[in-house]
Amino acid sequence: MATLDGKIPAGPIKDKWTLYKDMVDLVNPANKRNIDIIVVGTGLAGGSAAATLAEQGYNVKAFCYQDSPRRAHSIAAQGGINAAKNYQGDGDSVHRLFYDTVKGGDYRSREANVHRLAEVSTNIIDQCVAQGVPFARDYGGLLDNRSFGGVLVSRTFYAKGQTGQQLLLGAYSAMNRQIARGKIQMFNRHEMLDLVIIDGKARGIIARNLVTGEIERHSAHAVVLGTGGYGNVFFLSTNAMGSNVTAAWKTHRRGAYFANPCFTQIHPTCIPRSGDYQSKLTLMSESLRNDGRIWVPARLEDVEAIRSGRLKPTAIAEEHRDYYLERRYPAFGNLVPRDVASRAAKERCDAGFGVNATGEAVYLDFAAAIVRYGEEQATIKGEKDATDVRIKELGKSVVEAKYGNLFDMYKQITADNPYETPMMIYPAVHYTMGGLWVDYNLMTTVQGCYAIGEANFSEHGANRLGASALMQGLADGYFVLPYTIGGYLSKDIRTGKISTDSPEFAEAEANVKQKLESLVNNKGTKSVDYYHKKLGNIMWNKCGMSRNEQGLMEAMTEIAELRDDFYKNVSVPGGAYELNQELEKAGRVADFLELGELFAKDALDRNESCGGHFREESVEVGGPQDGEALRDDENYAYVSAWEFTGKPSDAVLHKEQLEFNDIELKQRSYK
């Protein structure tokens, strides 16, 4: 077992990034014109990186599987983006954002990376406003903020419930400017299917044109993956249908270590599933927890009456409701971090208090907020004798202004009106903190291959705080990678154009073609979705919100068996060299079937509970923290980075020991 070097620069944490930028090698503008960079993925990380690298003068080739870069899944992020601006004067600072993120991640992230993230967070807001991102403002014309889980300040900037959309359209606009200049060559409807390594360095990719099915070779001096997370290994998640691990997994197979695959975020506020046909789950923004109160009935007889339709939740008296987050965590209440809120919901539902037919739902109730805002408005408007009806009317308009589009979305999906009856929510897979291992430069263990945004593992530890994914994506793409990649490329200025006419490209292309042809020629009896759903079931039941040794061992065996069955019996209609959506899915599911096994192996290795990873064997017993997750810093304060050696079950573990010099390791208490 080797140890890994994160290449963290020397110096005090506050100065590391500044000193690094002062000293890093630069590439002169004339030489940048001779250097090509491939960027795969056009979400916040990939899109912002492609635009910035092109602005700097590099030749960028950008790839996305969607029909336009504007549709990358960052677009679906709702709530907001964090930045240590302290516009509210509530005590925020770079250090506090740094501290909150390390603590929120349950002390499993790399201090130096997180501090850098907190430092550049303020630049992001400035940059986005300059790009024309229409953030929410108050009546004085200045930017508004809201609070998110796990913190005690208001540092989240937002654009209605569509912050991800607006930030992505900002990055897309910056890309468009470079596409118009010819500095970005855009490849829409293209999927990366392999990484090409020449003399130990990433020198290109094999991509499939999803319209024609053609297999293409693309070369570059460096390859950047901004390909997002792998939550769809669970089949059901809040990810887009096309979100996949393929680019990252092929890179892993080519030598990049995969870090902390078991660190998955199960988001507490999603719309519960309604049937077996369900194709995806929909998130309700965490911002709703600013005003919504989460509860289940305190009495089992009320639960039964609700499930059988004899009782409405609004008819349950206050004293018969269990606001379990407020009860268990009085300091943070409904704004505890996501992992804590999700486990608490599961605990109540496992105890039989779930409020829908499947027993997997809790209430998110806005009645109190509507009255509170209504009374405030009545006072402002001087309506001293406002009736209850009038107060509710005033309150509803405030709630509508804040969350209107989310309420509409809920109503469209469930046909329930959340202004009148509490929402029903349940946790769902949302984000993956794990990903390709990268050093401080964001380079993977393959020279010249970088991973940014959700595709890497670095900043969020074992649990990501709300509104931090957008921050990390844009930080990596706009402000970090453009510096760090220069240091690497400064040594590549004499290389010249990389030819695609080499044995390495030929081998990778042949490999890709062989896999595609074998899938379409398999002529089995079961659809791709059949296997994907089976995999999802194993993952959810044995690698979900709560994990134990026996379940994880079973999961490894079952996934390996399912993978064998997939290759024997999968049916993929159509041909390999034409538009074929089933073939696209088949390739992605084949990779999920390998990743899933590594996921379980990683979870098995980590016999501690931290963040989103909860091992039943590792809980506090007795005392005020009874039943809470028990972290084991003595044995597990490391990053697990797995090396591929032929089969996921044979992956070799490398450890990066985490050092905490600026933040004291403590139990994460939100009580």
């Binding site: 635009a51 602005e55 029909d67 336009s68 504007r70 549709r71 899944h73 677009i75 679906a76 601006k85 630049n123 400035d126 940059q127 406003v129 300059a130 790009q131 024309g132 229409p134 953030f135 929410a136 403002r137 009546y139 014309g141 200045l142 930017l143 654009a159 209605k160 569509q162 359209l169 897309y172 606009s173 910056a174 468009n176 400017r177 596409i179 829409n188 809040t238 887009a240 249908m241 096309g242 309604s274 049937g275 046909y277 369900q278 194709s279 995806k280 929909t282 509409d408 979305m409 469209q412 999906i413 706009y478 453009p482 659809s527 979705d529 209609p573 159509g574 034409e578 538009l579 089933e582």
Partner: protein, 250 residues
Amino acid sequence: MDNMNLTLKIWRQKNAQDKGKMTDYNVTGISEHMSFLEMMDVLNEQLINSGDEPVAFDHDCREGICGSCSMFINGEAHGPVKGTTTCQLHMRSFSDGDTIYIEPFRAKAFPVIKDLIVDRSAFDRIQHAGGYISINTSGNTQDANATPIPKENADLAMDAAMCIGCGACVATCKNSSAMLFVGAKVSQYALLPQGQVESKMRAQNMVAQMDAEGFGNCTNTGACMVECPKGIDLSNIARLNRELLSGSLT
């Protein structure tokens, strides 16, 4: 209702060169809680299991924001429910025994690629012509709060910026005009101080590209606004015309 039987009449077209035709299918066991695309998943699973090719359609986020899905359902872009994308449309809007017509978004500038998938890259090219503010990423732009923006303008800019680029406006318009799409982008920037510098040129360049792509003209019918899943207002077209006119006068 948990067990609806439906007749689907779906546009099948093997590729861009193929002539294409409507084909009939039956699906059974459809629940009212399914989304429209989940109903399509049921159909495709049925087709795969019987050895046929599934119907190709664009879709991704399935939560109404990415703008991928693009079906013309019973003569309406994104189907019968106002303010809703195809992926957010649920089967409770239909009844047992219904016949549903499903076609691609049709326009000269949106050629069919396969079945229900159309090529909307013309929208991207319009954005390349001016859908941005020309600033570099430096980390040295002025503080985000240095220029206050009246809340009203910020809110109107946000309303315009909500466009998801799905193309329902084009598919709906009898002239296949893209004025609502272009108007939304031009308006977003015209309403913000950061966008002022390039405002006039932007309108001209984007409209020139729109014309070059083969989109038709606007005759103020207003169908685009009615069918837009994000409720982009017609006033954005008026603002675009204002920018265009004042730009051509200077």
